[in-house]
């Protein structure tokens, strides 16, 4: 597999953007919540589910997607949204509850809708799966070669929506890719206590579709597997189920006491961090032997600027007028 360096750098930039975004969000989230944690306090209230560590899944898959391809994310949606190209300013403003947000402050972090890039997500585990199937059916009905991607966690693979979605997609041979992020925990419950088989990819066999388990939180491995699945979907060969072994660095939500995992687990995982690994690969494979980090650093700078710009925009934006709560139940 040969990926042009500009593409690799773009993927690296997106991964770094995601990481910086989640770390910045974690800090912003704590504002107003110290010394006493109050979920309703601060500029970013409510639940907050961060995806640091899971960048390879979102980026490795979305690197194959075009603007018109649809992505349905989850309650932990930032990495998918960033990888799909959701407007970062509007997304951040939405999370800050501002009128300039994607949903004018009505959805918040679990309900991000950017129809310009065909992105949506849901706070209900597994619910996006049939919706992605529907998007794929729309593409098929119109003879378009777009694809739809449903991202969800390993915990969602025990929902009825997962099985119903796979069944329909296989039955109708739809251009959809189901991507399971196996981050080991459904909130606190380990996969071994929720799933009677080792990998959800095996469940593809029940629907007669390919199932692939990517046993490495590595963006290039995900990219390669996803590339085959996207090509199959675009070529009219139907759906694929991919499960990726990935890792969540933060708790299920910010404030999660994380009593369910060893204290040093995250530190150990970070020793094999996917962004660090990818950076090393980019340095080693650089065509510029005198300054192999130059284009990498440029991506890091771009990522930092994008994140800083988005948070500044969100902070400077206004809240919606309270009575806007009564608008937009319906469109005109």
């Amino acid at each position: 597999m040969s990926i042009p360096r500009p593409k690799l750098l773009e993927m690296y930039r997106d991964m770094v953007t995601i990481r910086l975004y989640e770390e910045t969000m974690a800090e912003a989230y704590l504002e107003g919540k110290q010394p006493v944690f109050n979920i309703a306090a601060g500029p970013v209230p409510g639940e907050m589910h961060l995806a640091a560590g899971q960048e390879p899944v979102a980026v490795g898959v979305c690197a194959h997607l075009r603007n018109d391809d649809a992505v349905v994310g989850t309650h932990r949606p930032h990495h998918f949204a960033i990888a799909k190209g959701v407007d970062l300013r509007k997304m951040t403003a939405e999370i800050f509850g501002k009128v300039t947000g994607l949903g004018r402050g009505k959805g918040g972090h679990m309900h991000l809708f950017d129809p310009d890039v065909h992105f949506s997500c849901s706070g209900i585990v597994g619910a996006g799966i049939p919706q992605a199937v529907g998007a794929a059916l729309a593409f098929k009905k119109r003879n378009e070669d777009h694809v739809a991607v449903a991202f969800f966690g390993e915990g969602a693979a025990n929902q009825g929506a997962f099985h119903e979605g796979l069944n329909l997609a296989a039955l109708w041979r739809l251009p959809v890719i189901f991507v399971v992020e196996d981050n080991s925990y459904a909130i606190s419950v380990p996969k071994s206590a929720s799933t009677p088989i080792a990998t959800n990819a095996d469940r593809a066999a029940a629907y007669g579709i390919p199932g692939v388990y990517v046993d490495d939180n590595d963006v290039l491995a995900v990219y390669e597997t996803a590339g085959e699945a996207v090509a199959r979907a675009r070529g009219g060969e139907g759906p694929t189920l991919i499960e990726v072994k990935t890792h969540r660095y933060f708790g299920h939500f910010q404030g999660d006491p994380e009593v369910y995992r060893p204290k040093d687990e995250v530190a150990q995982l970070k020793a094999n961090d996917p962004i660090k690994r990818f950076r090393e690969y980019l340095v080693q494979s650089s065509p510029d032997s005198t300054n192999p980090e130059a284009d990498i650093v440029q991506m890091e700078t771009e990522a930092r600027q994008r994140v800083e710009d988005a948070f500044a925009f969100a902070r400077e934006s206004d809240y919606p007028a309270p009575e806007e709560a009564l608008l937009h139940v319906f469109v005109d």
Binding site: A70, V72, G101, L102, G103, R104, G105, K106, G107, H111, F113, D114, P115, H118, S120, S122, I124, A127, I129, P130, Q131, A132, V133, G134, A135, A136, L137, A138, F139, K141, A148, G160, A161, E164, G165, N167, L168, L171, L327, H328, V329, F330, V331, D332
Partner: protein
């Protein structure tokens, strides 16, 4: 419009869908047994033969799957009509309906459109027991984000269906099995009504005064409208002039027509085949209190299914469902007690 032609409600609905499929290639139907079977209650009869399996898609028994898919289709620019065979089955797919279909427009601040019609069968009176006989429109009307449409005549059924299909918002379209004109389910005397051949729309939020009167206002939807009209004839023989209002849509609700009628008649009976408590009858009573309290000569009276599941056995079911004689009795109590 020429109204000399008479159709059943089932034919009126399938004609509306056919005309919209012909008009707009984004429109299509999906659901269980909507294809060659023509829908268990014939709402899609003849469409498969006319349009084929692309426009008239049979689905597996997988409501979360295909109703969730309908949302994905709608958000990607299609205009699906998706049938939930019995409204009672909402339990297996309610998350897609109320947490997603009904909320995505709001969550997006009006940036997405959800042009989806969820068509479903309601009603009892034919001894099908508690999982196949409910109305439940009060449940859906209670949750923000769905327009709730309930036709009572073939004419309204066609016009309201065309309006539903052309709406960019999700609409739950609730027909009553007993009003469809099915040869195998005879619950009313005449199941046909005048239906113009050309397409037409009926705006939502406009109640229809099905019969004018001066002494009492009877407000209902669906089968309750038929029963109220039957009761009104009986009441006329007793010298009581009843006005019968068919709400036609619960969301949006035509509160003005309710208030205006009450100001004229000063007495109200609300008839509902849905459950009594926390439902349509309570909402109408509250509306009357808010908009026409000073005009009332008697408290608002309600006739609805007492708070029990719909029972199977004929005498039990008939005991809990509204009927014309019960409406007559209730109106007399309202006027004379």
């Amino acid at each position: 419009m020429n109204t000399s032609r008479k159709l059943t409600m089932a034919r009126a609905i399938s004609e509306a869908i056919a005309q919209e499929i012909e008009r707009d290639d984004r429109v299509f139907v999906m659901g269980e047994d909507v294809g060659i079977y023509g829908g268990i209650f014939s709402a899609t009869a003849g469409l498969y033969e006319k349009f084929g399996p692309e426009q008239v898609m049979d689905t597996p028994i997988s409501e979360t799957g295909f109703i969730g898919a309908a949302l994905g289709l709608a958000m990607e620019g299609m205009r699906p009509i998706v049938e939930l065979m019995f409204v009672d089955f909402f339990g297996v797919c309610m998350d897609q309906i109320y947490n997603h279909i009904a909320k995505n427009i709001y969550f997006s601040g009006g940036n997405v459109r959800v042009p989806l019609v969820l068509m479903t069968a309601t009603g009892g009176g034919y001894n099908d027991a508690g999982q196949h006989s409910q109305c439940l429109w009060g449940t859906f009307a209670h949750l923000p984000g769905l327009k709730v449409v309930i036709p009572s005549t073939p004419f309204d059924a066609k016009g309201l269906m065309i309006s539903a299909i052309r709406d960019d918002n999700p609409v739950i379209y609730m027909f009553h099995k007993g009003l469809m004109g099915l040869g195998w389910m005879t619950l009313i005397k005449d199941t046909t009504g005048p239906v113009p051949e050309e397409p037409y729309t009926i705006p939502f939020g406009r109640a229809d005064i099905k019969r004018e009167g001066n002494d009492v206002t009877i407000i209902s939807v669906s089968m309750g409208v038929y029963q109220s009209l039957e009761a009104a004839k009986e009441l006329e023989r007793a010298g009581i002039s009843a006005e019968v209002i068919d709400l036609r849509t619960l969301v949006p609700l035509d509160r003005e027509t309710i208030a205006e009628s009450v100001k004229k008649t000063r007495r109200v009976l609300v008839v509902d085949e849905d459950y009594l408590s926390y439902g349509m009858t309570g909402e109408i009573a509250a509306t009357v209190m808010e908009l026409a309290f000073d005009y009332l000569d008697a408290p608002v009276k309600r006739l609805a299914v007492p708070d029990v599941p719909i029972p199977y056995s004929r005498p039990l079911e008939q005991f809990v469902l509204p009927s014309a004689p019960k409406i007559v009795e209730a109106v007399k109590e309202l006027l004379y007690s």
